[in-house]
Each structure stands twice: as C-alpha cells, then as structure tokens.
C-alpha cells in the first residue's frame, strides 16, 4: 500500500473492525433469513384458512337447520331465540362469501352457495313466521323446501371445500417446496458467509500481526548485536506503526553512536601513539648523544676542572671556552625537560656558535635578528642547534667565501617563524624533498655532529604540533645558500 493510503486506524479499532464486521454481517444475514422463513411459515397458516371458514359455514348451516327444526317441533321461545342467533351468524358468514361475477369455478360455487343460502334463510324465516301464524300447510311446504336447499347447500359447501382443499394442498406443496429451497439457500448462504468470515478474520489478524512479527524478528537480530538490519517499512499509523518508527529511529541512533565512538577511539589511539613516538624519539636523541659522549657528566666535570685550571694559570680565554663547552654539554644532558623556551634554544645556539668559532678561528659570521617578544614560546628541546649545526656542516664548512649564518625570529600571521639561513653550497630540490619526507640519510661517520639528525627534529616537531608543515627548507640552487624555516604555533 502506498504511503498516501496509510491506514490511520488504531490497533484497537482495527481489531474491533475485524471482529465486529463479520459478526454484524452474520447477524444481519441470519435475521434476514429468520424473518423470511417466519413470514413464509405465517403464510403457510393462511393456506388452509379457506377450508376452515367453509367448515365453520357448514357447521353454522347445520345449526340453523336444527334450530329451525327445533322451533317447528317445540315452538318454544328459547328455540326461536336460538334460531335467530344462528340465523344471524349464518347470514353474517354468508355475506363474506364472494358475490362477484368472476369467471372461476370456485367463485361461481361460492356465489351459488351464497344465493342458495339467502334463499334458504328466507324459506326458514317464512317457515318460522308461518308456524307462529299457525299456517300449517305453508310452514310445512317451506320447511320441506328449506330442507332440500339445506341438502344442496351442504353438498355444495362440501364440494367446494374438497376443491379448495385440493387447490390449497397444491399451494401448500408448492410453498413447502419453496420453503425447502429457502432452507437450502439459508444453509448455503450461511456456509459461504461463514467461510468468507473466517478468511476475513484470518486475513485481518495476519495484517495486524505481520508487522509485529517483522518487528520482533528485527528486534531479535538487534538484541544479538546485528545492527545491519534493513529498516522496517511502516504501513500504518497504528500503535505497531509508532513502535516500528521508534525502533527504526533507535537503530539509526545506535548506528550513529557506534560510528562516533569508533572515531573518538581512533583519535585517542592516535594521540597515545604520538606520545609514545615522541618519547621514543627523545630517548633516541638522548641515546645517540650519550653514545656519542661516553660519559657526559665525566666530560662536563673534566671540562669544568680544565676551566678552573685555566683561570688559575691566567689563560682567561681558554677558561671561558671550556666554560662554554661545559654549558653546551650541560644543556644536552638536562633530564626530564623535553619542552624548553625558544630563548633557551637560542642561548644554546649562541654557545654552539662560540664553540664552533673557536674551532674554526672565528670564520663563521653569525648574526641574529630576533623579536624578543616571541622568545617565550615553548618548543621541543634540541631543535634549533641541530639545524644550525647542519647549516655549518653541510652548508658553509667547505666554502671559500665568508661563511655567514643568520638566525631570525619573527612573527608571520599565526606563526612564529624561526629562520636559519646560510650562504653555503645550497641544496637541490630533490634533496630538499627527501629531507622533508624523512627519507634522506647521511653517513653519520662523515660528520662530527652531536648525533641528532634533521629528520629526528622534523618528526618531533610534527608530533609536537600535530601538523606536517612545521619545517620548510628553501634553497635557490647550488652555492646560493640554504634557509631552514620553522613555523611554530603561537600558542603552546
């Protein structure tokens, strides 16, 4: 059924409809059959009514005759009264007989009986009157004639009665056969209606229970954890329809909730993974450093001792140098401090440049252009120094011209940019791409770095800032220098 034709009956109304319609129909049919049959039986009673009335007429005639005889015999006033009573009764009955000129044998007989009866009554009256008047001859002749007429009338009534009985019996037989047909029809109709009613109830019950069965099947599947069920179609707006709708909505909601839960679990898992990687990388950096410096504490203490000895001997520059080297190592072995300020990182770079310049006789011209207000931003430890070290080792170390390195900190839109720019040998774009994707490896034995590679820095930055575009390398080509720019987020 299309949605337009949705049934809006409630379940209760449907059930009432389903059970009342057949009941009412069956009741109506039964009543119709009952009244029809009752009417038929009533008319059966009327079939022999004419015989009954003819019998009564005949009886009454006999009474008149015997009353006449009785009076003529006794001449008592009682007999006379009786005569008049019967005469009146008979007259009344005779008047109900047909007086029409119908061309029908029975009607003609009826009319004859009527006329003969009227003549008869006249004769009996005359006989009575003559008797009262003492006219013996006349009353006797009247009585004789009346008696003969009585015989004729009696015979005629009997004959008519017989004829009507035959006719009535035929009518009765015909009506009985009609009644039998009706009886069969009644039975047939009732069976048909009964069967149809039964089918109707079964079908209607099925239409009511079918959606419930579907709903319970779906609910069963859902209760077993299967949410991939097909949504149920709603056919009606009854209670089952409402429950089905609610069930459908519930299934959809549960599905959405599961998807959201899965997503949030995924995010959490990723976060945990990042944390682990970060920790792993720091450990890795530290390990590498420790591997490179067999015993930093020992080295650091040794260097401090060297610095004090230089002071005592008056070699102030040496003392200063050793002091810086010691500071560098101290920074490197700082424990439990993964996040530092940008300022601290830049201080480390200063220390490093001092040390390197002592080594390379002040060849490296290091300049800074720093927006002091941005220095409090937090960044992972050991990021900028490895980049500067890279610039020295792979950029300017072997060039013939003045070796320049410039460190700039400035604000650009939402970012704090840290730029390390050298005027060294530069890089081709392929190398830049490989470095940024983390696929570039150098032979560590060829350098004298502290062991923290650029790829390590990049990965830590990516994890820390949770984005991939933290670092960019720009080089215009061979011998045109390289600029490494960090894009640090202003917050955190």
């Amino acid at each position: 059924m299309s949605k337009k034709l949705k049934v809006t009956l409630s379940l209760r109304k449907k059930m009432i409809l389903a059970f009342c319609t057949p009941a009412i129909l069956l009741f109506l049919v039964n009543m119709m059959l009952y009244f029809g049959t009752a009417r038929m039986i009533d008319s059966l009673d009327a079939v022999f009514a004419s015989n009954t009335s003819l019998n009564e007429l005949s009886d009454c005639l006999d009474r008149v005759q015997s009353a006449t005889t009785g009076y003529l015999d006794t001449k008592t006033s009682d007999a006379l009264e009786q005569y008049y009573t019967y005469e009146q009764d008979y007259n009344n009955m005779v008047m109900t007989l047909s007086s029409t000129n119908d061309v029908n044998e029975n009607r003609v007989m009826e009319k004859n009986i009527r006329n003969m009866s009227l003549n008869y009554l006249e004769l009996t009256n005359q006989a009575i009157e003559s008797k009262r008047g003492g006219n013996v001859e006349k009353y006797k002749s009247n009585y004789d004639e009346a008696t003969r007429l009585h015989g004729y009338i009696s015979k005629s009534i009997n004959s008519l009665n017989n004829k009507q009985f035959v006719n009535n019996s035929m009518s009765y037989a015909a009506m009985m056969s009609a009644l039998q047909t009706l009886e069969q029809l009644n039975l047939f109709t009732l069976i048909i209606i009964g069967v149809a009613n039964l089918s109707f109830v079964v079908l209607i019950a099925s239409t009511i229970t079918e959606p419930l069965i579907k709903l319970s099947n779906s609910a069963n599947r859902v209760s077993k954890g299967d949410f991939d069920i097909e949504l149920l179609t709603v056919h009606s707006n009854d209670e089952v329809g409402v429950v089905t709708n609610a069930f459908n909505k519930m299934v959809i909601s549960i599905r959405e909730y599961i998807v959201k839960l899965r997503e949030s679990m995924e995010v959490e898992r990723r976060l945990k993974e990042n944390e682990l990687i970060m920790e792993n990388h720091i450990k890795d950096a530290e390990l590498r450093y420790l591997q490179a410096q067999i015993n930093p504490h020992f080295l650091f203490n040794t260097l401090n001792a060297g610095a004090q000895l230089s002071m005592m001997e008056g070699a102030e520059r040496t003392s200063n140098y050793l002091q810086r080297v010691a500071d560098f190592f101290r920074y490197n072995i700082k424990k439990n401090k993964d996040i530092v300020t940008l300022k601290e990182e830049i201080e480390l770079v200063d220390i490093y440049i001092y040390i390197i310049n002592v080594r390379f006789a002040g060849e490296i011209l290091f300049t800074k252009e720093i927006d002091e207000s941005l220095l409090d931003v937090k960044i992972p430890r050991m990021i900028i120094q490895p980049i500067v070290e890279n610039s020295i080792n792979y950029g300017v170390r072997n060039v013939d011209w003045a070796k320049k390195i410039k460190l700039s900190v400035y604000s650009l839109e939402d970012y704090i940019c840290v730029s390390i720019k050298d005027n060294g040998i530069g890089m081709d774009s392929k190398t830049i791409e490989e470095i940024l994707e983390g696929g570039y490896t150098r032979d560590p034995s060829k350098s004298d770095s502290n062991g923290v590679g650029l790829d390590n820095c990049i990965e830590r930055l990516n994890i820390f800032y949770e984005r991939d575009d933290v670092l960019d390398i720009i080089s215009e080509g061979k011998n045109k220098g390289t600029e490494t720019i960090l894009y640090l987020s202003k917050t955190d």
């Binding site: 038929m40 009327a46 061309v103 029908n104 003609v108 004729y152 015909a174 209606i193 149809a196």
Partner: protein, 347 residues
C-alpha cells in the same frame, strides 16, 4: 500464514489487506445474491396465495343434461361454454361442481336457488315437474331445452332436431337395404317424451313407406325404462338372449347404439343384423369402419351448444328468440366415416 498446516506465503501486508477486502466483498456479494434469490422465491410462493384477477361474466347459465359424462353432452357443453366465454356468459355444468348424483329436477332446483340467469336443460317432462319450470319463469330465469323438448309454454326456446328430419335421414340410409315383409326394431329410452317417440316412429314409417310404396314393413318399438342403472345394457342383453332381435335395428341414442354394437359382436350377429345408430362417438365410428354399424345419425353437438348460448343471449338482450332452433344432422356411414375418425384423432 498457515492454512491447514500448509504454509502460504503472502506478499506483504497490502496483499493481506486486499485479500481481506476481497473476502468482505465476497460476503456482500453472496449476501446480495442470496437476498435476490430469496426474494424471488418468496414472491413466487406468495404469488400462489394471491387472489388472481379473473374475467367477469354478465350472465350465469346452468346446463343440465341426462348424462353429463357422455361424449355428446360434453361436446354440447364445451361449445356452449366456449361461445359463452366469448360473450361474457358463464355456462356451468352444475353436476360437475357438486360431488353427488342429483336428478335433473334437483339440479334445476339448485340452479333456481342459486339465482342463475338461464338454464339449458335436456327436456323430460316425466322427470322434471312442471312447477319447476314455472318457478324458473317466476324467478326470471330463461329456460332453453336441448335435444328433447317440454311444453313450449314452460321454456323460451328449444334447440334440437325435429323427428321428421331424423326420420328422413334414417329412412334414407335404411331403404336401400330393406327387403319385403321385414321387421324394423326401433330401440329408444324413456328420456324422450312419448309424443316425441311416437312422432318419430310415425315419421319414420311415413318416410320408409313413401320410399318403398306397397311394401309391408312391420315396426317393433322398444322403449327402455332406464330408471335403474345399467338398464339399457341389461335390456339389450335380454333381447339377444331371447333371440328377439329383428334384422333391422334403429337405435335412438348413444348408449343403446354402443350396447347393441357390442352385443352384436358378443353374440356373433355381425352381418345378420343391420344396425343404424345414433350419435358419433369413437366407438360408434369404429363400428361403422368395421362394417358392424351400417350408419349413424349424428346431431352436431357443437352447433347445439353454441346455438343454446346464442339463443340465451338473444332472449336476454331482446326478450325474443325463435321458439325452435334446428341443429344440423348428418348421416355417417362407410363412405364418410374416415373423415370423422380423422377429425376425432385430431381433437
């Protein structure tokens, strides 16, 4: 859905709903069809009890004959009735309506008491008292006599054949067979008035004598008193047993003819006796066909019946009617019996 353990898959709820609707529609159709059949049957049944619409008659005439069961009087009655039906006259054979054997006088008394408008009666002054005719006259009932007449003062008209015509017909058929010095036996019954019989015999004698002048023919007249039942048959049996049968026999009515015909066969007298009958019944016609009966004089029953009704209507409407209306008579013998037999088989 399950029907008797067999699972039937119904596609969707809408199919179920449609099926339910079909079930309801089926119920309604079944109910309506039943109601219609029921109503028709009831009407048919109550039609039986309903008063029919009858044609009306203007006059009621009672017909009384000596033997309403005989073919002749049946034919007369049918013809009178048929003519009456066409002219709104109801002709009633009263003896058929009442289950009792009444004499003609009794029937006539009944008819008068019933207030009829006319009476057709086979006249018999011996049986019917004259006062009944007077009573009828007093009650303004037109009495028309059929076949046998009564005193012309007691009736309006007489429909029949006069003895002269009948005598001539008999004479015509008997003369060719007659031989000299022979006896002709005439058998009749007492229905006919003596004067009638006498005049018939006189006329017959005259007719035969004029056909055969100078011949000496003797006539033996036998009148059967049929007061008792089976009297005719008994009388004829006695004639044969006593060997009183003449070589020429004329029977004047149907019963006598039939009985005599049968007796001739029973007593093996075929060929020895010349039988001349009266009336035409299938038996008599068969007798003629087989040569047992030489000929029969037949009064046209149909024209008698219709003439009676016609005369009644005429008298009722004008107050006048012919005193005597003659009815056609024919002689049926071997030469023309075939066509009457054929006619009879068609009826």
């Amino acid at each position: 859905m399950k029907f008797g353990g067999r699972k039937i898959k119904v596609k969707g709820n809408s199919a179920l709903a449609i099926a339910a609707g079909v079930a309801v529609a089926f119920m309604f159709i079944a109910t309506i069809v039943s109601v219609v059949i029921y109503k028709n049957r009831m009407e048919q049944a109550s039609e039986l009890l309903r008063e029919a619409e009858y044609k009306q008659y203007d006059s009621y005439v009672v017909m009384i004959s000596s033997d309403d069961e005989s073919d002749f009087w049946k034919q007369v009655y049918e013809a009178a009735k048929e003519y009456g039906d066409e002219n709104r006259v109801y002709v009633d054979l009263l003896s058929q309506s009442v289950d009792d054997d009444y004499s003609r006088a009794e029937l006539m008394e009944m008819a008068i008491a019933s207030g009829c408008d006319g009476i057709f009666i086979e006249g018999d002054s011996t049986e019917i008292p004259q006062e009944l005719f007077q009573k009828a006259k007093k009650a303004d009932i037109s009495v028309i006599t059929l076949e046998t007449d009564v005193d012309p003062a007691d009736r309006v008209s007489f429909i029949g054949v006069n003895s002269y015509t009948i005598a001539n017909l008999y004479a015509k058929s008997i003369v060719p067979d007659l031989s000299e010095n022979t006896t002709v036996m005439i058998i009749g019954n007492s229905t006919a008035e003596d004067s009638n019989n006498t005049s018939l015999i006189n006329n017959l004698q005259e007719a035969i004598s004029s056909e055969m002048p100078g011949e000496k023919i003797e006539f033996d007249l036998r009148i059967i008193e049929d007061d008792e039942q089976f009297a005719t048959e008994e009388y004829i049996q006695n004639l044969f047993m006593n060997n009183q049968v003449a070589p020429f026999v004329i029977c004047l009515d149907e019963d006598t003819t039939t009985s005599f015909y049968q007796a001739m066969i029973d007593y093996n007298k075929v060929g020895q006796i010349h039988l001349y009958g009266n009336y035409k019944t299938p038996t008599i016609l068969t007798g003629i066909q087989h040569g047992v009966i030489k000929s029969t004089v037949s009064i046209d029953a149909e024209s008698m019946g219709s003439a009676a009704t016609k005369a009644f209507i005429e008298y009722r409407d004008t107050g006048y009617v012919s005193d005597y209306i003659n009815v056609d008579t024919q002689i049926i013998d071997m030469s023309n019996v075939a066509e009457y037999l054929e006619e009879g088989s068609h009826e």
